[in-house]
């Protein structure tokens, strides 16, 4: 065992990319070299990398839907992941949104939320 081992920081987390849920072991060495173990596919390594440097999550929520005969809420999601530490701010912005029918899957209901370069889009079509 070299002394350098102690200089590394080791992290363990669960991959959330797919239902398999691999346990990822990530070591970050002194020179910021990142090594990922435990991933069963390349997406896992990619996920581990962002998780260590800039953890991000997609956010889903609902907004008020007006004018529909049957539905009161419209489900929405961010079209790109947002920084993990800004999830609550994003949800608060989403909460202010009101949408009228008709609305289609993919329609933007909130553009460039908090200047993050991320749109909030409808995940359901409600015609009436």
């Amino acid at each position: 065992m070299s002394e350098k081992t102690d200089q590394k920081s080791a992290l363990e987390f669960t991959c959330i990319v797919c239902p398999v849920g691999c346990t990822l072991n990530v070591t970050v060495s002194e020179g910021n070299q990142i090594r990922v173990l435990g991933n069963r596919c390349p997406k896992g390594a990619e996920y581990a990398l962002t998780e260590v440097t800039n953890p991000q999550r997609y956010v889903q929520s609902t907004v008020v839907l007006m004018g529909s005969k049957t539905e009161r809420r419209l489900p929405v999601k961010t079209d790109k992941p947002v920084p993990k530490d800004r999830i609550f701010e994003v949800v608060n912005e989403i909460r202010k949104v009101k949408v009228n029918v008709p609305v289609k899957v993919g329609d933007v209901v909130l553009e460039n939320v908090l200047g993050l370069g991320v749109n909030v889009v409808a995940t359901r079509t409600v015609e009436e």
Partner: protein, 410 residues
């Protein structure tokens, strides 16, 4: 060929579309709610469709895709229509907005889904105040009805719906004090423990349960204690001052209509036995999706229901050559429980283990003889595992065989 599909959730829609594509003259979906989609419209989170559509979708988006397929394939959809009686000769009596209807299809596919186990099923002592919800009900109230369900929340049970509801309530501004799980391992998928609990600093208390509900009008607190060998450990009791208790303590297939058909109900799935085409012991009667056993992924629900849909059209009746598959040591659930023999497609067996197994071998046995074996890593009770048989293994099975699927650790 007339196929009736009872239930318009993901299983029902996938089965109907596949029956129509296989050449059925008429396919009708009978759905008791005012919309298609089953539970998907309220499952606004992502994680659906990675296997079935090759894309990460939310529940409503997954439902939308299937609904588009239903529309495009000219399947008839009856909404607000509920089957109130199902007879062994496949007659269905349906309550519709226009009155009572009788239909007698050539094949019936039950895609009836599951119900949540309520508080009564686990008998939590204490008061009976308002503020105790099953996770799916809480999810419906938040995501479909737009209500705030609770401000201070405790969750009992770590099934996926419980974990996802915990996150949803945290996002809506509630404080989720914790999730208690009776077993020493989580009930839901590992990724949901990560993204629903760890991400939001919600504590997961393994080997813990709620021992008492306190409050008169509304829940005021819950008592939680550690559990060892099925008993609460004295002195470990903690009081959580919450206004809401969310229960995620399991699902049971909604088997009333299946029972009415005269089909015996298996104790370990809560539904009828089926073969690899999801056909029951009554020819032309199928059960798919969560109605036949609880799946953890909608992708598998849709895939398996498609198998039933096309089979209902292509095959009339069933082959008489059957073998039986039973859960053996270490295995809680197997689907299917029958194997129709001599089919051109080699079947797969789905199974769920009783406790986590880091490395193990699944064995399909006939008495002492091993018919098939397959190595597995990371088997978890939360996940349905897939055991595809090989051609020669399948052909080695004989009519009348009683096979056991068990799991061994090295």
């Amino acid at each position: 060929m007339f196929v009736a599909v009872v239930g318009g959730g993901p299983a029902g829609m996938a089965a109907a579309v596949s029956a129509k594509r296989a050449g059925a003259d008429r396919v009708v979906i009978i759905e008791r709610a005012e919309r298609l989609g089953g539970v998907l419209p309220q499952c606004i989170h992502s994680g659906f469709g990675v296997n079935y559509y090759g894309e990460d979708l939310t529940g409503p988006e997954f439902a939308e895709r299937l609904r588009a397929d239903v529309k495009a394939s000219s399947v008839e959809v009856w909404l607000n229509a509920m089957v109130i009686e199902a007879r062994p000769d496949k007659t269905l009596i349906i309550s519709t907005p226009h009155g009572i209807s009788f239909v007698k299809p050539d094949a019936v596919i039950f895609a009836v889904g599951a119900r949540e186990r309520p508080r009564g099923a686990i008998a939590i002592p204490g008061a009976r105040p308002a503020g105790v919800y099953t996770a799916g009900t809480a999810q419906y109230m938040i995501n479909i009805q737009g209500f705030e369900v609770g401000k201070e929340v405790f969750v009992l049970g770590s099934g996926d719906i419980g974990l996802i509801t915990a996150r949803r309530m945290a996002l809506e501004g509630a404080k989720v004090h914790g999730v208690a799980e009776l077993m020493p391992f989580p009930g839901g998928l590992a990724r949901n423990v990560q993204q629903c609990l760890k991400d939001f600093n919600i504590p997961l208390l393994l080997s813990h349960t709620v021992t008492e509900v306190l409050g008169s009008e509304r829940v005021e607190a819950v008592k939680v204690a550690q559990v060892e060998n099925g008993k609460t450990v004295p002195g470990t009791e903690k009081v959580f001052p919450v206004d809401t208790l969310v229960l995620s303590v399991g699902l049971l297939p909604e088997a009333e209509l299946i029972r009415q058909m005269g089909l015996p109900i298996l104790p370990y799935t809560g539904s009828a036995a089926v073969d690899q085409f999801f056909q029951t012991d009554l020819p032309g009667v199928y059960v798919v999706g969560n109605g036949v056993g609880i799946w953890d992924l909608v992708d598998n629900v849709a895939m398996s229901a498609s198998v039933a849909g096309s089979h209902a059209v292509k095959y009339e009746g069933r082959s008489s050559d059957l073998a039986e598959v039973l859960p053996g040591v270490g295995v809680r659930v197997v689907i299917p429980q029958r194997l129709s023999l001599g089919e051109s497609d080699v079947p797969r067996i789905w199974f769920r283990v009783a406790c986590p197994i880091p490395v193990g071998v699944a064995l399909l046995t006939r008495g002492e003889e091993v018919i098939a074996r397959k190595g597995f890593a990371g088997l978890k009770p939360a996940e349905m595992a897939e055991f595809p048989l090989k051609e020669e293994q399948y052909r080695a099975i004989r009519p009348g065989d009683k096979l056991h699927l068990r799991v061994q650790q090295p």
